[in-house]
Amino acid sequence: MTEATDAASTSKVRNGYPACVITHPTRTARRLLTVVSATLVVVLAPVAAQAAVPDAWDDPPKVSGLDFLLVLFLIPLGIALVISVLAALPSMIGDKGYEPGQSWRSQPEWFGGPRQGVEATDGTDARALEGEQGGTSARW
């Protein structure tokens, strides 16, 4: 009984928690062990499998690290890159023109106007036509 309370008080001192909180100091170590062993199994299992090629089989061709990288990573990545570029190409080169909601930031355009453009209005006297012009104005 006294031993139990002693143990509780020491653990309280050690970890700063009240005695009723049970801590598992071994949990971290166990977790680490799991991760390390899992990694080892994944990394070393192919080696073990390679070692188990039966004698009657032909020798597997030697694959260099560069070939391995090329076939499994570089070629698929290259294909993926080419496909994404091809997919994005139309929207990059296609001139969609003015789209709804955009503000008009372009140069003014005059369809069917005089060749000089807006400068042609400098010489004109709209007052000469005052009262003769009709039409309407609107906003939206």
Binding site: G97, S103, W110, F111, G123, A126, Q133, R139
Partner: protein
């Protein structure tokens, strides 16, 4: 000019074709100005109209997409066939298209409606 800011070649072609169609239908000249006005929109549009080759026989459609202003100016000869009421109707049709963000469609619809109205033969006999 970066892409997507002004009209695309296709949109320009659409507007050109609409202008040509309107001129064929009505036998009057049409002109469309899209852009900001220097100074007040009304007088500016009138000056643009006056600068056309034959203002009396021309219709000018002024659209300022940024300021959301629409002005339609008709010449003295066009006015005989194209009443201001008919112009107002066309302006309403254009307004509704512009309000939906359809700039090119609104211009095309307006030109079509203006030319249709201008092409109607004048009724010379008032007492029918």
């Amino acid at each position: 000019m970066p892409a997507g800011e002004g009209f695309s070649a296709e949109q320009r072609h659409d507007i050109d074709r609409a202008i040509r169609a309107a001129e064929t239908v009505s036998r009057y000249e049409f002109s469309v100005f899209v852009g900001p006005s220097t100074g007040e929109a009304g007088p500016f549009a009138r000056r643009l109209h006056a600068a056309l080759t034959s203002p009396d026989r021309s219709v000018l459609v002024f659209v300022d997409p940024a300021a959301r202003i629409l002005e339609i100016i008709t010449g003295s000869v066009v006015r005989r066939d194209l009443s201001d009421d008919a112009v107002r109707l066309a302006a309403v049709a254009m307004q509704s298209a512009f309000a939906q963000g359809d700039l090119v469609g609104g211009i095309k619809r307006g030109l079509a409606q203006l030319s249709e109205a201008a092409a109607q033969p004048r009724t010379l006999h008032a007492d029918a």
